[in-house]
């Protein structure tokens, strides 16, 4: 292959999808740009002649490449200038051994256009969550479990219709409606095995006050005592009054979860009514106000998309590169937003293929599946609870970035609407879990609680208040993990839960029992399991 042709190909290999004759010339012949500048100052016939000659020469090579099927002419510009693109499809490759250089040339077209976060990705500041399926799959989906009466049917829907389109988490909302079924424990065991194999997290959201058959739930607790269902997350939705009414049940749950060292999530339903759940990337949620639309659609749909694509920002790495430069941080957020917009656009174009399995579930209402979905920007090591960082500054920086992201999203929704293509483009902020991607070592301090007294300490109260403030900014969800290090006393923990839900507007918190002390006998909770 001629050297000029190889140079032309290398331009397309860099990721440029379409180039005009002039753009190609500018990039492969430095003389061309010089002459163009001269022509601006002195538009002599001689300079124009030289420019035209260069055009003819490059067109000779370009036309040959079109004839041999390597390039396409995609359009003609205003003065008849030709625009070229690679004549290969996604994933196809052109392979050639150059006879003169004995060089193997491999050229492949990326399935996606270049995005303005790639530079940050190279520096490790930004990571796409699950890059291989960043566009083709959603991060999370909510199933309206109360619409499915049989556990076997739910299992089939999850494994056949939902697993193929999700790369992180599935929330089974109102799972209490299925607990009356006899085979629910078996189904959960099978589901956990499938989730482990396919790399999904299942959030089982249970409304504590809506329990009818507490007997059946003890079967699930029994199952948990036998097998640690590591891919299932149990989220108990409750409010102050439920603590008294379900005291014994909750006591049993705490005793079991602490015994098997399984995380126990509490959703404060006074603060958040709509689904709030957990994935590998971090927490997910909907906006309560928007969820009203889902309630209106409830009779017609079975599932709803929650998160489309996620980008993880390793803020500590950003600090190392740019210090606390608020302008640079906003620029980063703007570039992520543009990339998300591009990802959503591709996803919509591919939606017939991507969402075929789920469209069957919402027949007649397919277009509503993404009506509440958002994209997630997740922060890791962002400086709160990090020694040496000013929490106020961190909150302010994230808040300012949020305002700019919201303004960009609103402007883009307006543009799409003007084009007749009314769509939703919404970005949510949330923290990232360390399992979200390859990230820097955690810098923040754990929140450790031994007893109820700890919750009244000034230092702990301050941490909760800071987190409460952050929850307002993290509209995509937040979660506090309480590392319980004392001797397990379930009644004491219920009192702690009561204090937290009545004192703070924190939607979701989690008791981590990895470091609990004492040796609670399994039999002690099982025997008291009937309430």
């Amino acid at each position: 292959m001629h050297e000029t042709a190889q140079n032309i190909l290398s331009l397309f290999r860099r990721g440029d999808l379409e180039l005009s004759t002039s753009q190609i010339l500018e990039q492969i012949n430095p003389e061309y740009a010089k002459l163009q500048n001269q022509a601006k100052v002195n538009p002599s016939i001689e300079i124009k002649r030289q420019l035209a000659q260069m055009h003819r020469k490059i067109l000779h090579h370009l036309n040959k490449m079109v004839d041999s099927g390597i390039l396409n002419i995609i359009k003609h510009g205003e003065k008849g200038e030709k625009f070229f693109s690679l004549n290969i499809s996604e994933g196809e490759e052109i392979i050639e051994i150059s006879p003169s250089y004995k060089k193997r040339l491999v050229l492949s077209r990326s399935p996606y256009p270049s995005m303005p976060i790639e530079g940050y990705e190279q520096k490790g500041i930004v990571a796409k969550y699950e890059p291989a399926t960043w566009v083709d799959r959603l991060n999370s989906v909510v199933i309206l479990t109360d619409k499915i009466r049989e556990p076997a049917k739910l299992y089939k829907i999850l494994t056949e219709n939902i697993f193929p389109i999700v790369n992180d988490s599935i929330c089974l909302e109102n799972f209490e409606s299925l607990i009356d079924s006899n085979d629910v424990a078996d189904m959960l065991e099978k589901l956990n095995a499938e989730s482990r194999d396919y790399g999904k997290i299942i959030s089982i959201s249970i409304e504590l006050s809506a329990f009818k058959n507490k007997e059946n739930f003890s079967k699930i607790l029994e199952l948990l005592s036998r097998n640690k269902l590591e891919n299932l997350r149990f989220i108990f939705s409750l409010e102050y009054e439920d603590l008294e009414e379900n005291f014994n049940l909750l006591k049993n749950i705490i005793e079991l979860f602490s015994k098997i060292k399984l995380d126990m999530y509490i959703k404060n339903k006074k603060v958040q009514k709509s689904p709030y759940f957990i994935g590998r990337a971090g927490p997910y949620c909907f906006k309560d106000k928007e969820w009203q639309l889902a309630e209106e659609l409830r009779k017609d749909i079975l599932c709803l998309g929650c998160s489309q694509s996620s980008a993880i920002v390793d803020v500590n790495k950003f600090y190392s590169e740019h210090k606390l430069d608020m302008g640079k941080f906003s620029e980063l957020m703007f570039n992520i937003s543009k990339s998300m917009l591009s990802a959503n656009s591709i996803q919509r174009r591919k939606s017939e293929d991507c969402f075929r399995s789920v469209n069957i579930l919402n027949k007649g209402y397919e277009a509503d599946f993404l009506i509440l979905a958002r994209n997630y920007i997740r922060f890791w090591n962002f400086g709160l609870n990090q020694p040496g960082m000013n929490p106020e500054f961190v909150l302010n920086m994230i808040n300012e970035a949020k305002k700019k992201i919201d303004a960009f999203s609103a402007a883009e929704e307006t543009i799409y609407k003007s084009c007749g293509m009314t769509t939703r483009f919404n970005l949510a902020l949330a923290p990232a879990f360390h399992t979200a991607a390859k990230l820097s070592e955690a810098k923040y301090q754990h929140l450790e609680i031994k007893s109820l007294d700890d919750l009244h300490k000034k230092e702990i109260k301050k941490k909760f208040s800071e987190r409460e403030a952050l929850t307002k900014i993290f509209d995509g969800g937040d979660e506090i993990t309480i590392h319980y290090t004392g001797i397990v006393d379930s009644e004491e923990i219920i009192r702690q839960i009561r204090t937290i839900i009545s004192s703070y507007k924190i939607p979701l918190f989690n008791y981590n029992f990895a470091n609990v002390k004492g040796d609670l006998k399994l039999t002690s909770f099982m025997s008291g399991g009937k309430t």
């Binding site: 205003e78 919509r348 969402f355 277009a367 509503d368 402007a411 799409y416 084009c419």
Partner: protein, 213 residues
């Protein structure tokens, strides 16, 4: 008001200037100051550089305009697309979940009678869209195809037309459907006309519009 130009970019600049200088201001339901002229017809004789207004919008770095592939898909996808409230393709090819207006009517009609004046595609569905509670309904309500002098001419009627952001996309979507029909009929592309019932621009766009014109 009628604007007749050779290409899309000059027509676009002319209509933007016209409304900027002659439109009447009012504040719309979203609290945006809107400058409007009613019933403007724009005809483009040569469709070869139909994307020029989109390229001009892309030259601004303040926003991201929908890519051409997405605009095409929106006009040609025969199914409802999750993520949009509606799409012109589904309305044209599967109106109310049944009628394929293009493949089963327009193309056979024009094959049978090239002088027909009946080749109309409707995007607006009164059943779905004439609701006091529904906010998002098609802007382009119908399109018409006529074969004259051996060329396929397309006319789109747009009930509400943001001339700055919307018209470049609408005229491209019209071109995409015109091209689809022309290919099926093996006929040359003719002109594109748009009739904008409410042709408007917004106050927050004025600076960019002045830059464009």
């Amino acid at each position: 008001m009628e604007i007749l130009e050779r290409n899309a970019e000059t027509a676009w600049k002319k209509v933007l200037r016209y409304v900027l200088e002659n439109g009447h201001d009012f504040t719309d339901q979203h609290e945006r100051v809107c400058r409007e002229s009613l019933n403007i017809m724009i005809t483009i004789k040569d469709v070869s550089s139909i994307t020029a207004p989109i390229e001009a919008l892309n030259s601004f770095k303040k926003w991201v305009y929908p890519p051409l592939e997405e605009l095409e898909n929106f006009a040609l996808s025969k199914k409802e697309i999750p993520g949009y409230y509606y799409n012109y393709g589904a309305r044209a090819f599967k109106f109310n979940n049944s009628m394929n207006q293009i493949d089963n009517f327009i193309i056979p009609l024009l094959k049978k009678d090239s002088t027909s004046r009946r080749a109309s595609v409707i995007f607006y569905s009164p059943e779905k869209d004439s609701s006091l509670f529904r906010k998002d309904i098609p802007g382009m309500i119908m399109m018409n195809f006529n074969i004259r002098d051996g060329k396929l001419h397309a006319t789109a009627i747009v009930r509400s037309n943001d001339l700055f952001f919307g018209w470049p996309a609408n005229v491209y979507q019209t071109f995409v459907l015109q091209n689809y029909v022309a290919k099926a009929l093996d006929i040359e592309l003719g002109s594109i006309s748009t009739i904008s019932i409410s042709a408007h621009i917004f106050e927050d766009q004025f600076d960019c519009i002045k830059e464009i014109i």
